[in-house]
């Protein structure tokens, strides 16, 4: 198989915390255009993999390739500039900024005025239309002037997705995008992810298996830091070791 079709590849990726391997020898291959799900019981190492991929953690060993380029030593801000943008498991918003401002923070970097301390922030109003459109896509229009910190948890997650999408990333990493959402919100966000995935690659951690089966074409199952299984939803869900790993934690 030509490696050109993989957007993201890891080579024997490991992360050790004081003698404990949270991630061990992971070879992950994410194909361009796929919605690739990373699932596994609590503590399997999913978030740690995300932190390694986006350089919030330095791997103990192994390599990471993004579009064929070695990014093992790249800084987290530069990862985002290369088009790979993540969301966080614990909702990450800017609590004392309005929803509109939250989304605008993501949009404003492209204006190239982010160091201009002498310029009025009224100049950012040029981004309002796009920010509002993004808020509308996640169903938050009516709250646009509320402080992000005042939103209930599920809506914060929706705001985070809108902010992530504002960067128009080639590759999206979503850590449990539907956690804490109501059923209605889950439907909306699943639709949205499905829509935005049409012209980009998505790697997502998700506990809600109906979301996983709806959206993803490839699933990697992680257990105790190692890859346990990989394949389509139908393949993976029939594997006895996956069933036992999942039933063992009462999840699924």
């Amino acid at each position: 198989m030509a490696s050109g079709e993989f957007v993201l590849e890891t080579d024997d990726l490991s992360k050790e915390f004081k003698g404990f391997f949270a991630v061990r020898g992971v070879n992950l291959r994410v194909r361009k255009g796929d919605v690739h799900a990373l699932i596994g019981p609590n503590g399997a190492g999913k978030t740690t993999v995300f932190n390694l991929l986006t350089k919030f953690l330095t791997p103990t060993s192994g390599r990471i390739l993004y579009k064929g380029e070695d990014i093992t030593r790249t800084s987290p801000a530069d990862i985002a500039r290369k088009g790979m943008v993540r969301s966080f498991q614990i909702s990450a918003v800017f609590p004392h900024l309005s929803l509109l401002e939250n989304v605008r923070i993501a949009l404003q970097r492209e204006l190239g005025t982010s160091f201009h301390f002498w310029k009025s922030d009224a100049s950012l109003a040029a981004l309002n239309d796009r920010a509002e459109a993004l808020l509308e896509a996640v169903g938050l229009t009516e709250f646009r002037s509320h402080m992000a910190g005042d939103l209930p948890y599920g809506r914060k997650r929706a705001l985070e997705i809108a902010t992530t999408l504002a960067l128009d990333p080639e590759m999206l990493l979503l850590d449990e995008p539907t956690a804490g959402m109501t059923h209605e919100d889950i439907v909306r966000i699943t639709d949205l992810i499905g829509k935005v995935a049409q012209n980009r690659t998505v790697l997502m951690v998700e506990h809600n298996l109906s979301v996983v089966s709806n959206l993803s074409n490839v699933i990697t199952v992680l257990q105790r830091g190692e890859i346990l299984a990989e394949g389509s939803y139908d393949e993976v869900s029939k594997m006895p070791e996956v069933i036992s790993a999942y039933l063992g934690t009462g999840n699924g």
Partner: protein
């Protein structure tokens, strides 16, 4: 409407003040208000607690003092030289400290500022324990005689307003928006592609430069640059002023600075009791209103508005 009215009253009060209060007292308070505002840019809007800001005030004080007394520079260039020197020291300090978080950041800035203190104690041009004294005030732009206290007051007021406006604009700029994002959630700002260290360093240098401008102006007012300006007490005092008035608010540090300077002035005859009273006030304030005076007032207004919106 209320805002414009408030502004007019404020400007009128500022212009009339020297006819009702000692101009020297007012100028001292304005210098410290600018110092506290500059410090607040870092603490209130980036979330960085520096414990070494005396280094910037003091460096600028010495450079201005030396360049005016020994090199004979006019006041405007003296202040510019002091401000530039403080910015340079800020660049070095910031470059060394900015990657640290929380208490480590405070410790490194304290350690670095102590180095400046010992340098000031030893270096020949600073005059050691005596400092640089009897610095001539000179003529502003060659024709405004600053030995006139009223003229000097207006110059100091203009510098304060300029510095305050720079800070106000910085906070309300695209850059300020990124600073707020970093303060609120730095990992998230990074994940959106911001190289947050660069922004923090830029804010640090701005804060250092404006602190320096305050120090230079103070030197012009008192015709003195001394070890008091670089002492760690000074770094502590600016923290006190900012917290007392309300960090993260644009007027808080001004109120805090006026309060602290007033306390020091009116209680001066009580000697070392001043420090104790000041400490007592600080403890009471921290316990009673954690947002600082202006912060509490703003919170109260917000609460009243919300209640009005709900009932009306």
């Amino acid at each position: 409407m209320i805002r414009i009215l408030g502004l007019v009253v404020l400007v009128a009060a500022a212009l009339a003040a020297p006819y009702f209060f000692y101009p020297i007292f007012l100028m001292k308070a304005l210098c410290f208000a600018l110092f506290a505002c500059a410090f607040n840019l870092l603490l209130g809007y980036v979330g960085l607690l520096s414990f070494g800001h005396a280094a910037f005030l003091g460096t600028a004080a010495y450079i201005t003092g030396h360049s005016m007394k020994v090199l004979g520079l006019p006041p405007e260039l003296g202040i510019l030289a002091g401000t530039a020197a403080a910015a340079l020291v800020g660049l070095v300090f910031g470059w060394l400290a900015i990657r640290r978080q929380g208490i480590y950041f405070a410790m490194i800035t304290l350690a670095l500022s102590q180095m400046i203190f010992f340098y000031a104690l030893q270096a020949p041009f600073t005059g050691g324990e005596d400092g640089i004294q009897a610095i001539p005030r000179g003529h502003l732009l060659g024709f405004i005689d600053l030995t006139s206290e009223i003229a000097l007051y207006h110059f100091v007021l203009a510098i304060f307003v300029f510095g305050w406006l720079v800070i106000y604009r910085t906070i309300h700029s695209p850059f300020g928006q990124v600073l707020k994002a970093i303060r609120e959630n730095e990992p998230r700002a990074i994940s959106l592609g911001y190289r947050t260290d660069h922004y923090k360093l830029m804010a640090f240098v701005l804060s250092a430069a404006l602190s320096g401008m305050a120090g230079s102006t103070k030197t012009l007012v008192f015709q003195l640059a001394s070890l008091t300006d670089v002492h760690w007490h000074m770094s502590g005092e600016v923290v006190l002023m900012t917290l007392l008035g309300g960090m993260g608010t644009v007027f808080g540090p001004v109120v805090g600075a006026f309060l602290v300077v007033s306390i020091q002035n009116y209680l001066a005859q009580m000697g070392s009791w001043v420090t104790i009273i000041q400490g007592g006030i600080f403890v009471v304030c921290v316990l009673l209103f954690r947002r600082g005076i202006v912060g509490e007032v703003l919170a109260l207004i917000r609460k009243l508005r919300e209640r009005q919106a709900r009932t009306g």
